[in-house]
């Protein structure tokens, strides 16, 4: 049948199982919005295109599906760039559809024209400019395929208005071209057998997981592997939830703000098996001393992540699940009691570190942010999808909220985008209308995409926002305290903070405030119970720091365990 470009687009998306689009209209996509109006698509209208991008991202991270957003040309497109780069750094499957000026106008500095494919080339897995309507259906199919296959990532499709106006005889798209991107990587048998041999000999093994375990849907196989081998497990920020945070083998997160015992264990281990990890500088600290006593096995789907920062002894380019399935089978054939032998002293040693340096903070007259998070965890029993903003709020969440399941922790790890959490939480709530979704924010971060309160209220998305309000851009202030002799340049924002309760109410949401420690629990209770979106303003200790801390470029064993004041 004869269809126009907008109809082709929607049909092609529908064929790929997309039923939800986050977006904001504009001149170049008026035709598409007209078709959306007549269609059954769930279009979530945001209040800033950056919100659309982060919402599509949160939708993807929580559901495992490809998030889709639709924005107009020019400023609409450029407003998504931060969201695209956020998704790119964390390998999130997303398709961003941008309107574009008609093809004869491209390159003429037309109204709301921007070379978005040029601008996003370095921060997309791939992008397309559709120059003819007959390419459109195939392009959509290929874009979704690229977004979700191999190491996932954001893909942009730029659609000129005249191409969308054209009509064509609709043809079902053919299978996408494989190109160099990416069939399922299967591991070679040799390195896996070597790995099992190493496991048998190791006295002090550690398993380090990262975001790849969650993208690769390998958590079940991972849990089986860890328990078979009785190997302590630590994780990067992106891997939280990939292994149950309540399991006895769990060491907590490692790295710059990791737990004392995780950092000590990884620095002392003799065998380090990593799964889905790219060795970010936040994780390794000083490379020369990172796991320097260990033989390192790295399993990752992306060959460029292997031997990029850390030289490994056994590189295995493979998707995590296939590798773990095979490892588990090999372990079964090898007799597990022997493999578990000799681990007792290592577990005891780690126990010693747990006692020496537990996660702790002091209680006092003021609300401690860590306490807010611990209370939230306790009251929800950890059964929530938790998004965070960036900085201290993010780190305290990683430290004090235990994640047992994958796809429940939504945080901008690679790019560290303030303003990510709230729209991401909205995206997750759209994906899971009946689950509890929380955004843990700072007073700085929450103001970056506060306009999305309108979106949450409009669609009755009951996202609960926990604001850890210390009147500062907390993490930057902490660095100014540690490295700039407390010269708090441009980090004090408390004086000009909005009244969050009134702000929430002005949008039609519920606003709550707690200023004393005894008010924390009742405020959370009230917030969780209240219908619709809620902003909870917790006025917390102003100069609380995130500890432990490893200074940038320092070894993981050089941890500062507290600020040394007020303990």
């Amino acid at each position: 049948m004869e269809l126009n470009g907008s109809q082709v687009l929607l049909r092609a998306l529908m064929n790929e199982g997309v039923d939800t689009i986050f977006g904001y209209p504009g001149g170049s996509i008026l035709d598409i919005h007209d078709e959306l109006f007549k269609s059954s698509f769930n279009h979530i209208l945001v209040r800033h295109e950056q919100g659309a991008a982060h919402a599509a991202d949160g939708y993807a991270r929580s559901s495992g599906k490809v998030g889709v957003c639709l924005v107009t040309s020019g400023p609409g497109a450029t407003n998504t760039v931060t969201g695209i780069a956020t998704a790119y750094m964390d390998s999130i499957p997303m398709v961003i559809v941008t309107g574009q000026v008609p093809t004869p106008f491209i390159g003429t500095d037309a109204f709301q024209e921007v070379d978005i494919t040029g601008i996003t080339r370095p921060c997309t897995k791939h992008n397309f400019l559709v120059r003819h309507i007959d390419e459109l259906a195939n392009t959509v199919r290929e874009a979704l395929y690229i977004a979700r296959s191999g190491r996932p990532g954001p893909v942009l499709i730029d659609l000129p208005k005249d191409v969308m106006r054209a009509t064509t005889e609709y043809r079902e798209p053919v299978s996408p071209s494989q190109g160099s991107s990416e069939p399922v990587y299967l591991p070679d048998a040799g390195p896996l057998t070597e790995t099992v041999d190493l496991i048998k000999k190791a006295k002090k093994p550690v398993l380090l997981i990262g975001g790849g375990v969650i993208h690769g849907r390998a958590t079940e196989e991972l849990i089986e592997f860890a328990r078979k081998v009785n190997i302590p497990v630590t994780s990067t920020l992106m891997g939280l939830g990939g292994f149950p945070g309540t399991d006895p083998l769990w060491l907590g997160m490692l790295g710059m703000h990791g737990t004392y015992y995780a950092n000590m264990a990884i620095s002392d281990c003799d065998l380090l098996i990593t799964v889905g990890v790219r060795f970010s500088d936040r994780v390794t600290g000083r490379l020369a001393t990172f796991a320097s006593n260990a033989t390192i096995v790295q399993i990752d789907i992306d060959a460029t992540s292997i031997n990029k920062n850390v030289l490994v002894h056994i590189p295995i380019v493979s998707d995590c699940r296939s590798a773990l399935v095979q490892l588990n089978a090999l372990l079964d054939r090898n007799g597990l009691e022997k493999i578990r032998e000799g681990r007792e002293s290592w577990i005891t040693r780690i126990g010693g570190w747990r006692t020496e340096g537990p996660m702790s903070y002091c209680q006092g007259d003021t609300i401690k942010p860590q306490c807010v998070i611990e209370t939230l965890y306790r009251m929800t029993k950890g059964d929530a999808i938790v998004a965070t903003e960036v900085g201290q709020n993010q780190m305290w969440t990683a430290q004090f909220f235990r994640f047992d399941k994958p796809n429940t922790f939504l945080t901008s790890g690679g790019l560290g985008t303030m303003g990510y959490g709230f729209p991401a939480a909205i995206g997750a709530q759209v994906a899971f209308p009946d689950r509890l979704v929380v955004d843990i924010a700072g007073d700085g971060s929450i103001q970056m995409n506060i306009q999305e309160l309108a979106t949450a209220v409009n669609y009755k998305l009951p996202v609960k926002v926990v604001i850890l309000n210390n009147g500062y851009l907390g993490m930057v202030r902490q660095w100014q305290e540690l490295f700039y002799e407390k010269r708090y340049a441009n980090t004090g924002i408390g004086g000009q903070c909005p009244d969050f309760v009134k702000l929430a109410e002005s949008y039609g949401a519920v606003g709550l405030r707690a200023v004393k420690p005894e008010e924390v629990e009742p405020t959370i209770a009230k917030g969780l119970e209240a219908p619709g979106p809620v902003l909870m303003d917790f006025v917390v200790e102003a100069e609380e720091g995130v500890y432990p801390m490893v200074n940038p470029g320092a070894s993981l064993t050089d941890m500062k365990l507290s600020s040394g004041i007020g303990m």
């Binding site: 494919t117 040029g118 080339r121 370095p122 897995k125 791939h126 400019l129 690229i146 190109g179 160099s180 991107s181 992306d302 060959a303 460029t304 031997n307 990029k308």
Partner: protein
């Protein structure tokens, strides 16, 4: 760590932005492009791009893997100097000393493309070292301008 020249031969889809993406991969990750040549292969939908870059062995592995990740890169091969044939070309505009020019023709294999009373346009094809050698000589011929191509390798 040993820093050396490395030659990479790429087969890519013949699409408008492929070159931009490849160049962006180099610049974005801090690798350099010493010289580059690109043209269609026997299949008009596939382009061959040859890039000479400088770096350590470890960097080269990274560069190749990064390029292979690109959707439009079909193949990326490291061309080892022992196993490949490589050629560059240079066009040079030199002063009108006929005797010296004829010497270049005979000894360096130059071709005369254009002859005028006061200048010649010469063409030299050869290995990188042969081109370097030719240019050194041509500079003594009052060379006014030159245009040097990227490398082609097989």
């Amino acid at each position: 760590m040993d820093v050396q020249e490395h030659t990479i031969s790429l087969l890519v889809h013949n699409k408008p932005d492929v070159l931009a993406r490849i160049a962006g991969t180099f610049s974005g990750r801090g690798y350099n492009i010493e010289n580059i040549s690109a043209n269609v292969t026997m299949n008009p939908r596939i382009t061959k791009i040859t890039i000479v870059t400088v770096g350590t062995q470890a960097t080269m592995v990274q560069v190749e893997n990064q390029l292979r990740k690109l959707v439009d890169v079909i193949q990326a091969t490291h061309m080892k100097s022992r196993e490949s044939v490589r050629r560059e070309m240079v066009l040079a505009s030199v002063g009108g000393d006929r005797e010296k020019v004829m010497k270049a023709v005979e000894e360096l294999g130059c071709r005369i493309l254009k002859e005028k009373p006061d200048h010649f346009v010469l063409e030299v094809t050869g290995s990188k070292e042969e081109i370097d050698q030719a240019l050194t000589y041509l500079e003594t011929l009052d060379m006014k301008d030159m245009s040097r191509s990227g490398m082609v390798v097989l």
